[in-house]
């Protein structure tokens, strides 16, 4: 893999020959990947490429059948508070208000804090994501975008150095998605030291706008087919970024990789179902 390790950026997440599958289906085959500290990396691929599985493995929700996953040199066994996770939906407990949700997470991540301090911290982070007014509301009373803001506030409040995000904006409408992408970039740019983010998406533009590096996955079984840096300087104002020639070149390359993988599957497969990985 093309990992040009800069001297000040050591690899923090390492997948080494990781394979995973269910019964007879291989979901991931021999995946090797290094994520550097403070890097924003996007896993991009069609459904069936195992990108969500990869994130679950990194989160410790699943264990690899072959190979190893290390975080800061130590083997990953099970979930840990050093990795914050944002799921596509359901990230908040519906029977707790936004504040209660964030306070619960803070209580686990910073057990030394007093009750009032936990509440103060929770409100601080809810304000950061623009939910100060809605802090007493319950997830059922909020829109999908607001729930994801809450989930981001929660994961930030936990202060984990590594954030794992599984299509966090996938279920949102375009306007909310745009807003949340900007919010995430803003927060990530502002945080010192920069957090490491692994972000799963199937949206090429989203990946190129957000990431330092895009890892393209192919399907059936899931494996890495391309790994490319995104040499667009930050900050990346949306309009200017979309207008840059590099953006278009990269988009074209990524799409070619995705299309190539799809065509390969179509020519290998006897049926369309097989090609789709059904």
């Amino acid at each position: 893999m093309g990992t040009q390790t800069a001297p000040d950026r050591r690899p923090t997440l390492e997948l080494d020959g990781v394979s995973f599958g269910y019964q007879n289906t291989a979901v991931l085959a021999e995946v090797t990947l290094q994520v550097r500290e403070g890097e924003f990396i996007c896993l991009l691929g069609p459904s069936g490429s195992g990108k969500s599985t990869m994130l679950r493995l990194l989160a410790g929700l699943e264990s690899p059948q072959k190979g190893s996953i290390r975080l800061g040199g130590a083997q990953v066994v099970g979930p840990g508070l050093d990795r914050g996770v944002v799921f596509q939906d359901y990230s908040l407990f519906p029977w707790m208000s936004l504040t209660e949700n964030v306070v619960l997470a803070i209580g686990k991540a910073h057990p030394g804090l007093l009750r009032e301090q936990r509440h103060e911290l929770a409100e601080e982070y809810l304000e950061l994501v623009g939910l100060a007014e809605a802090r007493a509301k319950y997830p059922g009373e909020l829109s999908g975008g607001m729930c994801q803001r809450g989930a981001i506030a929660r994961v930030l409040a936990m202060g984990a150095p590594v954030l794992l995000m599984d299509e966090p904006f996938g279920a949102l409408d375009p306007v909310n998605r745009t807003r949340l992408q900007d919010l995430l970039l803003e927060i990530w740019n502002a945080s010192k030291p920069a957090r490491t983010i692994v972000f799963v998406t199937h949206d090429v533009d989203e990946a190129l706008l957000l990431a330092d590096r895009v890892v393209v996955l192919g399907a059936c079984p899931g494996r890495i087919i391309a790994d490319m840096e995104v040499p667009i300087p930050r900050p990346r104002p949306r309009r200017q970024t979309y207008a840059r020639p590099e953006f278009h070149t990269l988009r074209k390359t990524v799409n070619e990789h995705l299309q190539g993988d799809m065509l390969r599957r179509l020519s290998d497969a006897e049926t369309v179902e097989e090609a789709a990985g059904i």
Binding site: L81, W95, K108, G140
Partner: protein, 281 residues
């Protein structure tokens, strides 16, 4: 929980479809029953049935009239028995409340443990398959013989009657906590006790409440059956006593009163359920 599950991706994808959109957002509101009787249909039917009862009571030959008291006679009997019925209610509740509450607490605690622990779940299989379906009324004579005093025996049978529905439902609820919520609890690093208390319990509440309402109905059945056997006070005892003395107006009044008490208790439980599950609306 089902409502929450559908409100995810599937639902939002469905809403994208034009056909679905028109189906869920009708231009005109659905035709509603309007006028004076709207929403009161059940009560109207009840009124009609009472009227029918009165008519039948007029038609019944006078020598059988003591067996089939008219509504007017029954209401008079009810009115004059109110103090006695009140005392009977208190006496019944002294049995019902401890038995029911103990059943709910034990049923929820054990059900949640069994629903989240594989070996405990396997351990309960013979009991939920063989013991739970036994109609609990069959335990009444033995409980009265076995336990000291009628009250403790009655509390025990109320407990048995209410325990199984609560337990089985709590277990089902705990076993069906959605994967996403379990993942969430795991990535937050919740401990076992915290997980059970703050995730599994609230997530199972819908199931628990259906178990609780079946359990409440069961405990009324158990209570009155036990009282028919050996009480010297209580609602079931009231009915049995006046039946023995062939005072059927009072007996029917007792049945109606017991029905009313059951109705009030079920409504109270429904209120509690709505308050506890406010976040589902």
């Amino acid at each position: 929980m089902n409502e929450i599950e559908v409100s995810g991706v599937a639902a939002s994808a469905l809403h994208e479809l034009p056909a679905f959109r028109t189906a869920t957002r009708p231009e005109q509101p659905a035709p509603r029953v309007t006028g004076y009787f709207a929403g009161k249909e059940g009560w109207c039917l009840l009124a009609v049935l009472v009227l029918l009862w009165q008519v039948v009571a007029w038609v019944v030959p006078s020598r059988n009239r003591f067996l089939f008291p008219s509504p007017v006679v029954t209401i008079q009997a009810l009115w004059s028995s109110l103090p006695e019925l009140g005392k009977g209610t208190v006496s019944s509740f002294i049995i019902l409340i401890p038995g029911y509450i103990a059943a709910v607490v034990a049923g929820v605690a054990l059900g949640i443990l069994a629903g989240t622990t594989k070996w405990l779940e396997r351990l309960t299989v013979p009991f939920t398959r063989v013991v739970a379906p036994v109609p609990p009324t069959v335990y009444v004579p033995y409980a009265i013989a076995l336990l000291p005093g009628f009250r403790s025996a009655a509390i025990a049978v109320v407990f048995i009657g209410a325990f199984w529905p609560v337990f089985v439902n709590a277990m089902a609820g705990a076993a069906s906590v959605p994967q996403r919520l379990r993942d969430n609890a795991r990535v937050l690093g919740l401990g076992k006790v915290e997980y059970l208390r703050r995730v599994v319990f609230p997530s199972s509440l819908t199931h628990i409440f259906s178990g609780m309402s079946v359990g409440l109905a069961m405990s009324f059945i158990m209570l009155t059956v036990a009282e028919l056997f050996g009480a010297n006070a209580g609602l079931g005892r009231f009915v049995q006593f006046y039946a023995d003395y062939a005072d059927y107006p009072r007996m029917v009044a007792g049945i109606l009163f017991t029905g009313a008490v059951t109705f009030v208790c079920m409504r109270a439980l429904d209120r509690l359920k709505r308050r506890a599950l406010f976040w589902q609306r």
